[in-house]
Amino acid sequence: MVDAVVIPLLKIVIVLVATLTAVSYMVLLERKVIAWTQARLGPMRVGPHGILQPIADALKLMIKEDITPARADRWVFTLAPILAMVPALIVYAVIPFGPAVEVFGRPVTLYITDINVGLLYVVSVTSVGVYGIILAGYASNSKYPMLASLRASAQLISYEVAVTLTLVSVVLVAGTLSLVGIVEAQREAHVWYLFAQPVAFALIVIGGLAETNRAPFDMPEAEQELTGGFHTEYSGMRFALFFLAEYANMIVVSSVATTLFLGGYLRPFPNVAAFGVLDIVPSWMWFLLKSFAFLYFFIWIRATLPRYRYDQLMRLGWKVLIPIAIANLVVTAIVRVLLVARVGADG
């Protein structure tokens, strides 16, 4: 009973609370990092160094008037932010924050579940997240959001192809779709897949930026072109949901990339006993550190680069990323077959 119901429920609550807190503090982190990049201070008023700013933001958004445009499609207008937020949260079900550990003498795994199609689950759930953006644009019955959602649907579908093809090559190397399995495969292979699959890593980083609508691929919400894009007509808490979903998706992408390429929850050099001293830092902390590095990279990119144009983005996706992803896949497959053949010959 305890193992089947209580512990999973507890884990779900902890992950959700941690995620939502992390998401609101991501907003602060982004504002701070960009401010420092731009020789500013960022939020400083609410709490020391603006540390309570997310709480103030949340309060402000909650007491704001929640406007529905007169000619909007009411049901869909309400549904859209929910559809954006829910997939971003349920992905966390399969992300391994750490291996099994003992808590109060009871073995507990530091992930909610480990299904054998984990990676596909991540891809498919995030692919549903695009509905939030598309429907928001449609339901607002307004021109700028409409253009934004057309952009978004084309962009997300195109980049999904490239990202999924890239993931296949990682799966080929690991030989499993389970996220825990992929981490453990990296332990056995004695190498982070960042070094085994550098091309795939680069593709995932670019594709991840595009899939989460982050600069330089933030066309669907290009403030300077589409006045905020798909969430132009949203206000109050419903706007906040979109906002949080974007950051939750960023955390998802960095978590998945960490798991796939940076050895997930493993400490650096997990097989070298000499580095055993690194075990002082718990495994989930390593995971968070690596993910944080990714998130920082995302923010850094946003502060540095101009935005791509929509047609250039599509060209990049279809004419550059997808061919490279396919080539990478083919090469990986050939190398893998050759390796298996050699190992077979040796054995």
């Binding site: 689950y121 549903v128 509905y131 999904e160």
Partner: protein, 168 residues
């Protein structure tokens, strides 16, 4: 017991959503119900223990194809009432014919599976696990249908490119 209840709940959902797809006045709502329908079907697959198929169902249908439907619906102005450019009666006739064809097909499939039931599990699969099994079957027993399907998709793709790019 749980499985049976789950099946009937999901089956009801699927039928309700399917009904809503064809009765919704608003095309976008119709597409949305279609997405819900696909998600319910995915849940049914999970119930059957076919996680791989379930996930692929969400990825391809709910996350990909329905998005394209939405894309088309939003691009094309469908606000005009359908009467203005279609003869409703002809559409009705066509509907009856198509429905009859589908019915015949379903009866045929049901009858065939009763006469020659499929092997419960692939007899020769040397691998364990849902995904591996699907892969194994695709590349052994169903290799030719699989390759044919790929060819069909390739042809469709070339055709789509030809249609959309008038001047090449």
């Amino acid at each position: 017991m749980g499985e049976v209840v789950g099946f009937y709940v999901l089956a009801t959902l699927i039928l309700v959503f399917a009904g809503l797809v064809i009765t919704a006045r608003n095309t976008t709502h119709s597409v949305l119900f279609l997405m819900m329908d696909f998600l319910s079907v995915a849940a049914l697959y999970v119930l059957l223990g076919a996680e791989f198929v379930a996930v692929i169902q969400i990825l391809v249908y709910a996350g990909g194809i329905v998005v394209l439907y939405l894309f088309v619906v939003m691009l094309v102005n469908l606000k005009r009432p359908p009467e203005s450019y279609r003869d409703p009666r002809r559409q009705g006739k066509l509907g009856v014919v198509l429905a009859a064809a589908v019915l015949v097909e379903m009866v045929a499939v049901a009858g065939y599976s009763r006469v020659a039931p499929a092997p419960v599990a692939a007899a020769v699969s040397p691998v364990v696990g849902n995904t591996e099994e699907v892969g194994w079957l695709l590349y052994t027993q169903y290799l030719i249908p699989f390759e044919l399907a790929s060819m069909l998709l390739l042809v469709a793709m070339v055709g789509a490119i030809l249609l959309s790019k008038r001047e090449l």
